[in-house]
Subunit: 243 residues, 2 copies
């Protein structure tokens, strides 16, 4: 007998989000390199909240209004007018604890706002550093799930897909999955699982090449490692907080 | 030293086509179950040409104007007003040789027209039955390539992605591939390669389930088998012809 399980879908690009029933689902925003990994890390290290914004100008504007740290990069450098970058290593406990971070990202923030505009039942962020927490959260909710890959300017990317595959590998059996993208994500993750970093390198993943061009191998390794900042991250009232 | 190879991309859904430089590329229309497999088969068996149209009404209209066979299905049955269905087994040589087929398909035809609207340098169709011919054709052209998956109502599907992966496995080294979708297609194909049919069945691919619901296992097996109708299929002046 078919159990009445909630449904799970993987949306490989923001351009495809309109194909899914966002208003009946919890959407997991996945931007592995590096936005959602850095967000999990900052909150794990005690940040009060993180305000995701989509432009440097907005980041500066909010930074002037409230007591906060502004952060964001463009082309691998701290954006002009902001104080910090996108690396998870910039946010250790001694720096970030109790503080609010205003973070500008492009792909992840765009998808997050699209999910909100479509009245998602809930929005959380996911990354390898908080993989277990994401899985536990989703199991606890017993709702339909959309694993939303932020991608790169709408182009499908490997690392976000791998994270979707990792979630499905862990908790897929608790969901009804009638979604070829999810099966492909799982197949790709299974091939990559023995060494995600090596897989990214061997496959010459486009983002891997961009970031290693900036000398960020250490960031990539951290962002592909499970449970280094294992805390659920939930969007509430304009902010990402520890769930 | 980096060779000056042409570029190859995989576009997993018509919704993503705008992200690629269609006007600088040959686009391979991939609609494995079953449009492009049936097209290759009919041409291999001597059909004069195939006119792909996007609606039953258009199919009937053209069928009245020219000496032709009209074909198309909706929900697994021959559409009302048309003569034949979408199965490759309906088009043996003794039936189709020398004749024109007007075929209505949804996903494949839509993508084909999108590629034409964007001034593709060339448009061909691809399927496992003509895999080798597609690869040889692309190598001979020495142009940039977009492997265009027709998908299912814009949702990514496994079978079209597998065909993209099969092409990349065969001839990828002759192209510069800076495209994560291509790497994912290749990874998925590698996992599936020992038995594509079993992979589709095990993964409960959405289209596999739809078609087996109509009793079409034999069609699926044929459509996943390499080189059963090994002929290049090229779009020219409104028609698909043997290249």
């Amino acid at each position: 007998m078919q159990e009445n399980k909630p449904e799970l879908y993987t949306c490989l690009s923001p351009s495809l989000l309109s194909l899914y029933d966002v208003d009946k689902s919890i959407v997991v925003i996945i931007d592995v390199l590096r936005a959602t990994s850095t967000i999990a890390t900052a909150l794990y290290n005690g940040a009060k909240s993180i305000i995701p914004v989509d432009s440097v100008a907005e980041c500066i504007r909010i930074g002037k209004q409230i007591d906060s740290i502004t952060a964001g990069e463009r082309d691998g450098k701290v954006a002009e007018g902001l104080e910090h970058g996108n690396s998870p290593f910039e946010y250790p406990r001694e720096f970030i604890e109790g503080r609010t971070l205003v973070l500008t990202t492009t792909n992840g923030t765009k998808l997050l706002h699209m999910a909100l505009d479509r009245n998602a039942k809930g929005v959380i962020t996911g990354s390898f550093p908080n993989l277990s927490a994401v899985c536990d959260y989703l199991l606890g909710q017993n709702q339909n799930v959309i694993l939303g890959c932020a991608a790169w300017k709408n182009r499908v990317n490997i690392e976000d897909t791998l994270f979707a595959g990792a979630v499905i590998k862990r908790i897929g059996k608790h969901f009804s999955i009638n979604c070829d993208s999810s099966q492909m994500a799982l197949a790709t993750y299974k091939e990559a699982k023995p060494d995600l970093y090596k897989f990214m390198k061997t496959k010459e993943a486009s983002h891997y090449k961009r970031l290693t061009g900036f000398g960020l191998e250490k960031d990539i390794r951290y962002c592909l490692t499970e449970d280094g900042a294992n805390i659920p991250v939930v969007y509430e009232d304009g902010k990402l907080i520890a769930g």
